[in-house]
């Protein structure tokens, strides 16, 4: 009898912990785009290799962005971005760690749309700042899609804009995030 109880208990623990594992999703091809408009020219870059894991049960998300993977239309702009602005040799990755709350409880394996509010810390160029943004999480089949848009101030992250280039580079950058996760 006691052995039976032990086995059942263990079985429950194991199966529920497996179920917990189903609530983690990962992407290695997340898309982040940033855009800033300025008098002389717009600055726009896309990164299609962003990595992230999202945990639906714990409502946590982590994002890792390799700065080198931002692609610009003008290669000279890309070189300056890496060498002079974000100094990607010193700070190769930008990261985000945060938690989110949603308007309703998540139901797995069922299509649905959830409005979420994300709160966390973003680290760029070695500087960590709090970040708060609203977004949408969609369950589509076995995939999870997450989207959000927010603005960042370049100066907050010790990214120097020399006076000469003031006309070129705006101080506020609009960031658009679009991830499609698969179950981990």
């Amino acid at each position: 009898m006691k052995l039976l109880i032990k086995s059942v208990l263990l079985a429950i623990i194991i199966t529920t912990s497996q179920a917990q594992a189903q609530e983690k999703y990962m992407t290695k091809e997340g898309h982040i785009k940033f855009f800033s408009s300025a008098l002389v020219e717009d600055i726009e870059a896309d990164n299609h290799k962003v990595q992230s894991i999202i945990d639906i049960a714990k409502k946590e998300v982590v994002i890792s962005i390799t700065m080198h993977d931002f692609q610009f239309e003008k290669s000279l702009m890309q070189e300056h971005f890496n060498e002079n602005y974000v100094e990607s040799e010193k700070f190769p990755k930008a990261t985000f760690k945060g938690v989110f709350t949603s308007d309703k409880d998540f139901v797995l394996n069922k299509d649905g749309e959830y409005q979420v509010e994300l709160v966390g810390e973003i680290t760029i160029h070695g500087v960590t700042k709090p970040l708060k943004t609203k977004g949408v999480i969609k369950m589509v089949g076995s995939q999870l899609e997450a989207q959000t848009t927010f603005e960042l101030s370049v100066a907050d992250f010790d990214i120097e804009i020399p006076k000469l280039l003031f006309q070129n580079i705006a101080e506020v950058v609009k960031v658009t995030v679009n991830f499609k996760y698969d179950a981990l």
Binding site: L10, D55, E60, E79, P92, K97, E160, N168, L184
Partner: protein, 286 residues
């Protein structure tokens, strides 16, 4: 005892539930493989001081380069310390592909036209695939069109060919060095000036003084000079200032000419005698 066993079992089974965000980050890192990162911006532009660097143009990028070399600083106030005797080279360089750059130029010095090809063969990289240096093959052909003899000698006698293997390494974000083993072939040369083929080894480097400024230097040692050699090895010092799409370079060198056959093989300036030329380059990339 059994309660302890059950508790311990539950603890072990449930231990992996308690992942904090840091653990989530480690999980992310464990699941992603390292990628290869190719070194960028080993030098700020396509020229070190006189020499080419391993920087080639990216595909469909055009560079317009205006190079000036003035007369000798020790030529006195009447000559305005050399500023009156200005040599200029106008050049265009274009990236046909990511790995192949072609260029043309015209020098006012001896009215020489030059054409060049730069092939990127090896790229320095770190990460998954680590390569310690970059290598670019540089070749140039030049023709001197100055009419200094009558009758004008055949074109073949006025041609010069250069081959260089540029090997560079970015040691740190602010320090790079380059080796330039070179071969210059002069189609027609006076016997006392040596062999048609001149071998030289160049060495140069740059130190970044700030994000946009660097201090550059180079020196060429000519290997097979004749016993009657009256010329000098080329030495140069420069400052690079980069602003957006332009690179400004200020130079001090004992060489008068701005192409390889000129500064490597025909330098008549004695540094110790004060035969220094001031010069500057302006480069704009479109």
């Amino acid at each position: 005892m059994k309660k302890i066993v059950i508790t311990v079992l539950c603890f072990f089974a449930g231990a992996h539930w308690s992942l904090a965000q840091d653990d989530l980050m480690s999980l992310l890192e464990d699941n992603t493989e390292e990628s290869t990162v190719y070194t960028e911006a080993t030098f700020k532009g396509s020229r070190l001081v006189n020499s080419h660097t391993i920087q080639t143009r990216k595909k469909a990028e055009l560079e317009f380069l205006i190079s000036h070399r003035f007369g000798r600083l020790n030529s006195g106030s009447y000559e305005f310390w050399g500023l009156d005797a200005a040599n200029i080279r106008l050049g265009l360089e274009y990236g046909l592909t990511e790995y192949l750059t072609v260029g043309i130029g015209r020098n006012s010095h001896e009215k020489t036209y030059d054409g060049l090809v730069k092939v990127k063969l090896v790229r320095q990289s770190s990460g998954k695939r680590s390569v310690p240096f970059s290598l670019v093959y540089f070749t140039s052909a030049a023709i001197k069109t100055l009419r200094e003899e009558d009758p004008i000698p055949p074109n073949a006698t006025r041609m010069y060919y250069t081959h260089q293997v540029l090997i560079a390494r970015k040691f740190a974000p602010s320090f790079s060095m380059q080796l330039m083993p070179s071969l210059i072939h002069r189609n027609s040369i006076l016997e006392e000036e040596g062999d048609n083929d001149l071998y030289a080894i160049g060495v140069g480097g740059r130190i970044k003084l700030s994000k946009r400024m660097s201090l550059n230097a180079e020196y060429y040692y000519r290997m097979n000079t004749p016993a009657s050699d009256q010329q000098f090895n080329s030495a140069a010092l420069g400052i690079d200032i980069e602003t957006g799409g332009h690179v400004f370079q200020l130079h001090l060198t004992n060489s008068r000419a701005m192409i390889e056959k000129g500064f490597i093989t025909e330098t008549t300036g004695d540094v110790l005698g004060g035969d220094i030329h001031f010069g500057f380059n302006v480069s704009r990339v479109f």
